[in-house]
Symmetry: C2
Subunit: 460 residues, 2 copies
């Protein structure tokens, strides 16, 4: 470790321009990152605390509010300045009963969960014939009106990918499948969970009904249940398969959510701050450990480690966004409230707690020296440089709206969709060693950024 540290310091010393911060501060930051790799307890403490003491923190609910109060206490206790709750109003959807049964010849229960923003079947439920679409494209091909009075079943299966792109391949079945099915007459939709595991746990998540399409009930079956339903179609030889659904989610109307912020104040508060983002809300099924308790733990830990290495030049602001899961309410509210306050750069952690494997920025062309310096600084943690242009995640609306600098510290997503949006998103799924690697990489990157005097994107 010491060898790597010296090598990294030496490489930086050869290339940093005149405005760079002092060499000993560079070394101290690198040492602090190396220390975090072995010894960080801050990220774990946050993740364990919020999942144990609060648990699920669904957007717009009292549970999320308890989470905010807890996070504010935690930030204060951990030395953050200017800790605040920035409330906003939102429309809040909550789950009710959720049961599904195949009826008729193959009668048996199935495990289901409602998708966010969907309608209720009423407590008495609905029963109808199921129409099977092996892939999302098959639903697109279904003639208008062909689903009148039916339940659409979209079985499009997701594949695990390191970069998370499998979500883009399978996600539309959830994001727009119910709306498309409804527009063709379906009275409800069941999808195969947008997730890669084979446990009996359904993956929830939001769906959106297009303008003019009346919302219907819609839910996700677990992968084993979707497999079973497929086999039933095979064994039925064309005989109809029917299903009864009881899904009773409801809208609570307008409730209060909020963004929680805290700062490590820089030596020159007039400079635009470095914005580190995550989201504090979680889906209600799990305890929000990997989505996104760990992300908030990582960014907060990095901010503290950077401060440990000496007060940074710029202020580091952490944003624990509220209400991400049900429509990026917090990210949008934050951008609206702070759009006139320029951010130096935005980075988000919201893809679990597995190791960071790739560095991306959106200023590789405009500030190649800084991009290269950052990429080199994290190579010792096994992070590769990349030509992919960083786009930031859900909680960085403000930086995108400002056209600002963005960095993506890409986490390995191979196993993420085993857990994402399921009851299984619990603390035991977080690997403490991988979590510390995240903190180390973040400490190194944030440390450089927060001590960078010039504009991060290179543009004046």
């Amino acid at each position: 470790m010491h060898r790597h540290l010296l090598a990294a310091g030496a490489a930086i010393a050869l290339t940093i321009p005149a405005y760079a911060f002092a060499d000993d501060h560079v070394d101290a930051l690198a040492a602090q990152a190396d220390h975090a790799l072995e010894h960080d307890m801050i990220a774990w403490d946050f993740t364990e605390g919020v999942t144990t003491e609060i648990g699920p923190r669904q957007a717009g609910t009292d549970d999320e509010a308890r989470g905010r109060a807890w996070a504010i206490d935690w930030l204060n206790a951990n030395g953050f300045a200017n800790v605040a709750d920035e409330p906003f109003q939102m429309q809040t959807w909550v789950r009710g009963e959720e049961r599904a049964f195949v009826t008729g010849r193959f009668a048996q229960p199935m495990h289901i969960t409602a998708l966010g923003n969907t309608a209720s079947t009423g407590p008495e439920g609905i029963e109808a014939e199921v129409v099977y679409f092996p892939f999302f494209a098959d639903l697109l091909d279904a003639p208008e009106g062909s689903l009148e009075g039916k339940i659409a079943f979209i079985s499009h299966d997701m594949r695990a990918t390191q970069d998370g792109s499998g979500y883009g391949f399978a996600g539309p079945a959830r994001w727009t499948g119910p709306s498309i099915a409804a527009s063709k007459g379906a009275i409800a939709t069941v999808i195969r969970s947008i997730g890669t595991e084979n446990h009996r746990m359904p993956h929830t998540g939001g769906t959106t009904f297009a303008e003019g399409v009346v919302a219907t009930p819609a839910g996700a079956l677990t992968n084993p249940d979707a497999d079973n339903l497929e086999r039933m179609f095979e064994r039925a030889n064309g005989e109809p398969i029917t299903m009864r659904l009881v899904l009773t989610p409801r809208w609570l109307g307008e409730t209060t959510s909020g963004n929680v912020v805290g700062e490590v104040v820089g030596r020159d508060p007039s400079l635009p701050p470095v914005l580190l983002a995550c989201h504090l809300d979680s889906w209600d099924l799990g305890t929000g450990a990997i989505d996104d308790g760990a992300g908030c733990g990582i960014i907060a830990a990095a901010a503290r480690h950077v401060a440990e290495a000496g007060q940074p030049l710029r202020t580091i602001r952490v944003l624990f966004a509220g209400a991400e899961e049900t429509g990026l309410w917090g990210s949008r509210a934050y951008s609206e409230a702070h759009i006139d306050e320029p951010m130096a750069v935005g980075i988000e952690s919201d893809f679990g707690a597995d190791r960071i494997w790739r560095f991306e920025s959106n200023f590789r062309e405009t500030n190649p020296e800084l991009h290269a310096r950052l990429a080199r600084s994290v190579a010792r943690f096994g992070v590769a440089d990349s030509t992919i242009v960083a786009r930031g995640g859900a909680d960085l609306n403000i930086v995108r709206d400002q056209g600002g600098a963005i960095i993506d510290l890409q986490q390995d997503g191979t196993d993420y969709f085993e857990l994402h949006h399921t009851p299984d998103d619990t603390l035991d799924k977080v690997d403490p060693e991988a979590l510390r690697q995240n903190v180390a990489v973040w400490t190194q990157v944030v440390g450089i950024l927060a001590n960078e005097a010039g504009p991060i994107s290179g543009a004046e």
Copy 2:
């Protein structure tokens, strides 16, 4: 494969005594076992069929009755003779609502399932302080009356073992924990699931209240929930933790279950039959794939393969026992009904669908030649001989009651308790290749036994 086959045939030819069946039949059986290893579809067809077309088959319910009717059709369609349903009466317990919530400072829901034979909290539920027992022994040490008005939490954790012995280590927390806690005043008990996986799925199973102890509500938390509850005790620093439980199981009274039997009739039906056993009922949470759909598939497939190799000397009887899970009702009923009908030998498959790794009999001392011949015959499938005395499983009461010969073809149980008694006991967890290895081993062993003229145990 061919080389192994010849070698096995040669070895047997040197050692078989005068009453052994013809060499070409020996070869045909070995060839059939080898064929099953690569090509058996019968066990898969049964397992897929019963899990897809019937699903859960809880003891004493209509679902179990549908399963029996389905199995009878399947046995008839697969060439079994004397297929019959042998009904018996039983007391039937069924699950109701099941919810658990930590209340107070760490308020959050927990995933729970009721244990078989437990009482209801009533729909309004109960709320009480939780008393934490890290291990079963800690509960034993609790003073009489010390749990008055409390909920006992037994967190004894199970470890995975190849031979399933971890169940014996952890099982008492479920089998007798609730009764012991009740006897010390507890109004309810929650246990850590008796299972080894870390998914958010509770493991159900039966519990027994001792004579004179009034049954209380009792349920199993998932392992991640039990972990979380432990962490709460750590974070609470002695402050009480309270929990609300809503568990509404009920007794249906006396209902009908039944044992399903079928036969491959032997050349000499006057000889005691070879009894192959499994159970057809399953817990309601999963679809009963590994417990015990696969077991019934394996024994039925083996019987068919033996018949394929030429009519056996003895009749082979398959027993798909009813109502095993809630108290061995079927096994006991079968023994009562048939106790006067001697069985040549009993073998059961009820430990999942993973590979067989060990051969055990209870006649190694009394009939060493047959024991050795059987053990050698399955060595080519990776099955080791053993000096452990076979005891048979839950469905072999009749053979134990008769003091008869028993063989255990031990399956690898390392992963069994990831699935056993959980919603995750579904077809996708069955590895077709491992399933075929089971069928091959069974075909070989049953083939030898069903063609053995002398008494299996060696005793006259």
